[in-house]
């Protein structure tokens, strides 16, 4: 027997209710609930306050005629004079251009290498082979730059292994360690050997979080290895790639110091001068040391902040999470 439901008699339309955000609990209530979490953050906040925010307050000396031999408030204010000196210094412009070149080379060539290595590693099925390869690839990250440059000199230097082999074969000695024109390539080799393996680790973690069922379903649907990479793997790790890219943009003017300082004598300052070496040679070791150096540091910080904000904004517009969730 068919049972049909008796249509309900029309009733008055329900009152329109406005969608409201859930009422936020008062701070006191939230503190009572979350105090263990708050306590856990205290050491980190203290560390930040003591070692970062308090020293950052001294950035004010960029606007002073600072001398370490008088108290802070006795230093006369000179406004933007140090910035003027900085921007008028022709060697600052050279250092800035070199820094940008190295930074973009790192972004274009080392960053993707880390992704490539992670993908390669992810595709290796043998756990033993994977762990061995992984160790070999990221071990150089723990070497100091002194050691890295020494290894490169021993291998690629004019009196190094490769040069001796070339001479033995009747060729000329390799000049790459002293050639300013190929220093960018040399630097890329050094970054890749030292840092690419370490950069791979975060991407590997992201790859591990991809649901294997997606690959199985795609395989059943006939997707080959490249299609799975393109349609599953890369989209899955895209938020991590974007996040790391934004963070790297923030420190774009900090390309390092030791690597360039150590090889300065070999390739000359013209090829190796970056902002950090500029600060070291032209400010720390000169009479305008503290103030001019701080001005250069502030400049780097402001550019980094602007780049982070811009990149984050673009990421949000493209639907990515960026470095924080847009509410």
């Amino acid at each position: 027997m068919a049972v049909t439901a008796e249509p309900a008699a029309p009733t008055a339309a329900p009152p329109k209710t406005r969608a409201t955000a859930p009422r936020r609990k008062p701070l006191r209530h939230r503190l009572r609930l979350d105090w263990p979490l708050v306590v856990l953050t205290v050491p980190a906040l203290a560390q930040l306050a003591v070692f970062f925010y308090a020293p950052s307050a001294y950035s004010v000396i960029a606007f002073m005629d600072y001398s370490p031999y008088r108290s802070l408030w006795e230093n006369p204010i000179v406004g933007f004079t140090h910035f003027q000196i900085l921007f008028e210094d022709p060697y600052f412009v050279d250092a800035l251009l070199n820094t940008l070149q190295f930074a973009f080379a790192q972004l274009l060539f080392v960053f993707p290498t880390s992704i490539g290595l992670a993908l390669l590693m992810h595709s290796v099925i043998s756990t033993k082979l994977r762990s061995t390869f992984q160790s070999i690839v990221y071990l150089p990250y723990f070497f100091s730059w002194v050691l890295v440059v020494s290894v490169f000199t021993q291998v690629l230097g004019q009196d190094g292994l490769f040069s001796r082999w070339l001479v033995g074969m009747g060729g000329d000695r390799l000049d790459i360690m002293r050639d300013p024109d190929s220093f960018m390539f040399l630097a890329w080799l050094q970054w890749t050997w030292k840092d690419a393996g370490w950069g791979m680790i975060i991407f590997l973690a992201a790859l591990a979080s991809i649901n294997p069922a997606l690959y199985e379903a795609a395989a059943v649907d006939g997707a080959n290895r490249w299609k799975r990479l393109w349609h599953i793997t890369l989209p899955s790790i895209r938020p991590v790639i974007v996040l790391l890219l934004i963070l790297q943009l923030g420190s774009i003017l900090s390309v390092g110091f030791e690597q360039y300082q150590l090889q300065r004598a070999s390739v000359g300052w013209g090829a190796s001068e970056v902002l950090d070496t500029f600060v070291y040679y032209r400010t720390i070791l000169s009479a305008n040391g503290e103030s001019l150096g701080t001005a250069a540091g502030l400049f780097k910080g402001v550019i980094g902040l602007l780049l982070i904000l811009a990149a984050n904004n673009i990421a949000h517009r493209l639907g990515e999470q960026g470095i924080y969730q847009k509410s």
Partner: protein, 566 residues
């Protein structure tokens, strides 16, 4: 030339002040201002005045035994052919101390462990004062010390070589603000407690004085450091491997042209053989370039950079690169001249004088090469010009004490300095330089202390107690044949030693001049090592002049004219 002992030039107290040039002190006395709003970077000048009342009263400390070869110190030091064995005891009754201190020192040798037997034995020998030497690589030390000193994090004392102060902008200002004024402790008659320090002489102590008030340079003068060795004679040497030269049938070169000829004949890039090692600081004299950089041409100062001789020097250096006559690692941090010279991979190399006797003694001790022989190349000339040899002058460095270190603590450390000031031929010198018999050294067949293998491995070139003071007199040391050869060399080179046009002044160039000089030097290095063309030199000189060279000239010229009454 070291500060002349007659003092004729410097006995004119406050000469510069009277002449209007002033003496810089705590705030630095601006001679030239680089920027109207920003201070610092001005050049400044201090006078080295041997007549100051604050200096310790000089009391000669006579050598226990007359040297076999008596020279004319400091330019022509004396020497012993036979080691005074047993050496005389300079300090009959060591003090009784118990303090514990930390001293920062640069170091090129092995780092000593805190409980190294040498340190423990020295603690006992010097009267019980325990010193922990914080040793760092010398080149890194020179730059890092700028920050340690500003942050007042250098233990109780720090040793600085004179050349290291170039890394410190406004070093004169740093001294009076960061280091202890020890005038009250060492002024007057100190011979009873510190006879060896009293025997250092006015030259050495006057070079350790800084003034804190530019308006009153004499009244505010203070002794801020314990002087290290008083330098004199030829500053460094260009050594050749005499055995290898003889083996190849080559004579010791006497001209730059002969040097190049020998280098061309000996070098073989494919075989990994390059005749020349380091030449950068030693070779400028071969082209008659000035050690201070400035030459008075009768009407004004001309810098090396502007002279045709400098261009010739750059061309010479470039030739070494282009013709592959120089070891490829020269100019980089990997260059190890000592090892390459010892193994015979290079024929010639520059270094301080200690290489001669130290390496000779070491190679003889190991027996690795019985034919090994090292010797200095004389004053080379170029295109038949008159020879010139750069001389060393002034005090080589200072031991500075922390500003708030107590008087008793400073006095205790001065007890150690007094011990270290004992000259060659004394038991104290022997322990400081060679350690203790049976541990770091043994007497060789000639009765001279020679480092044992353990001494070479753990001690040689290691700067620790040697940093506490210079000695009362510098005497030649080493095997007898080396001393004889060095003595003869010094005598022969005397007529060619250059003089310091600014003798008696401690000058700090205006910052713009220093910066322009650094940039220019980088460019010259690019040319020398083939990274830039010779044709770029003239442009670099023009840039140097406009960026600070002319400002530096004005500063130095003013000082020179007032010093010499021009």
């Amino acid at each position: 030339m070291p500060t002349p002992s007659d003092g004729s030039l410097f006995r004119r107290r406050s000469l510069l002040k009277a002449a209007g040039i002033g003496t810089a002190g705590a705030a630095g006395f601006p001679l030239l201002s680089a920027c109207a709003e920003v201070s610092g970077g001005e050049g400044n000048v201090q006078e080295v005045d041997q007549t100051l009342d604050i200096l310790p009263t000089y009391k000669e400390w006579p050598l226990p035994i007359e040297p076999d070869l008596v020279g004319e110190p400091p330019n022509h030091p004396s020497g012993y052919l036979a080691y005074p064995n047993p050496p005389a005891k300079a300090i009959a009754n060591p003090p009784s101390n118990s303090g514990s201190y930390q001293v920062y020192v640069p170091n090129w040798g092995p780092a000593l462990a805190k409980d190294d037997p040498y340190l423990l034995a020295m603690q006992e020998a010097t009267g019980g004062t325990k010193i922990e030497f914080v040793q760092s690589d010398g080149e890194a030390f020179a730059e890092a010390s700028t920050q340690w000193i500003q942050a007042e994090e250098f233990g109780d004392a720090i040793f600085m070589f004179g050349w290291m102060t170039n890394s410190h902008a406004g070093f004169n200002e740093t001294v009076v603000n960061r280091f202890a004024d020890i005038s009250d402790i060492v002024s007057g008659d100190i011979a009873e407690r510190w006879p060896l320090l009293a025997g250092r002489g006015d030259n050495a102590w006057a070079d350790s004085v800084w003034s804190s008030d530019p308006e009153d340079p004499v009244g505010s003068a203070g002794i801020y450091g314990v002087p290290w060795g008083l330098l004199g004679g030829p500053s460094n040497a260009f050594f050749h491997r005499a055995d290898l030269l003889a083996e190849g049938g080559f004579a010791v070169p006497t001209t730059v042209e002969e040097l190049l000829e020998t280098a061309r004949a000996w070098s073989d890039d494919k075989a990994g053989r390059w005749a020349i090692g380091g030449t950068d600081y030693i070779s400028k004299a071969w082209f008659r370039l000035e050690a201070t950089g400035w030459l008075w041409d009768g009407s004004g100062l001309v810098h090396n950079y502007e002279r045709s001789e400098f261009k010739e020097w750059v061309e010479f250096q470039r030739t070494l690169t282009d013709e592959k006559l120089r070891h490829p690692s020269v100019g980089s941090a990997d260059f190890d001249g000592k090892t390459l010279h010892r193994t015979g991979e290079i024929l010639f190399d520059q270094d301080g004088w200690s290489r001669w006797w130290q390496m000779t003694q070491e190679v003889r001790a190991t027996g690795e090469n019985p034919a090994f022989e090292l010797g200095p190349v004389g004053a080379l000339t170029f295109q038949g010009r008159e020879p010139m040899y750069h001389s060393a002058w002034g005090v080589g460095g200072w031991l500075f004490f922390r500003k708030d270190l107590g008087e008793d603590a400073i006095a205790e450390l001065l007890d150690v300095s007094n011990y270290v000031a004992a000259p060659y031929g004394t038991k104290e010198y022997e322990t400081v330089q060679f350690g203790f018999e049976g541990q770091q050294f043994e007497y060789d067949a000639d009765g001279r202390p020679a480092l044992t293998e353990a001494g070479v491995r753990g001690f040689q070139d290691s700067l620790s107690y040697t940093a506490m003071s210079g000695t009362t007199e510098y005497l030649l040391e080493g095997p007898a044949d080396v001393i004889e050869a060095r003595f003869a060399f010094d005598e022969a080179i005397l007529p060619y030693l250059d003089t310091n046009p600014f003798a008696g002044l401690r000058l700090t160039s205006p910052e713009s001049g220093t910066n322009a000089g650094s940039v220019f030097d980088e460019k010259v290095n690019d040319i020398i090592y083939g990274r830039a063309e010779l044709s770029e030199l003239d442009g670099a000189v023009a840039t140097w002049k406009s960026e600070g060279g002319d400002e530096a000239r004005e500063f130095y010229e003013k000082a020179y004219k007032q010093l010499h009454g021009e």
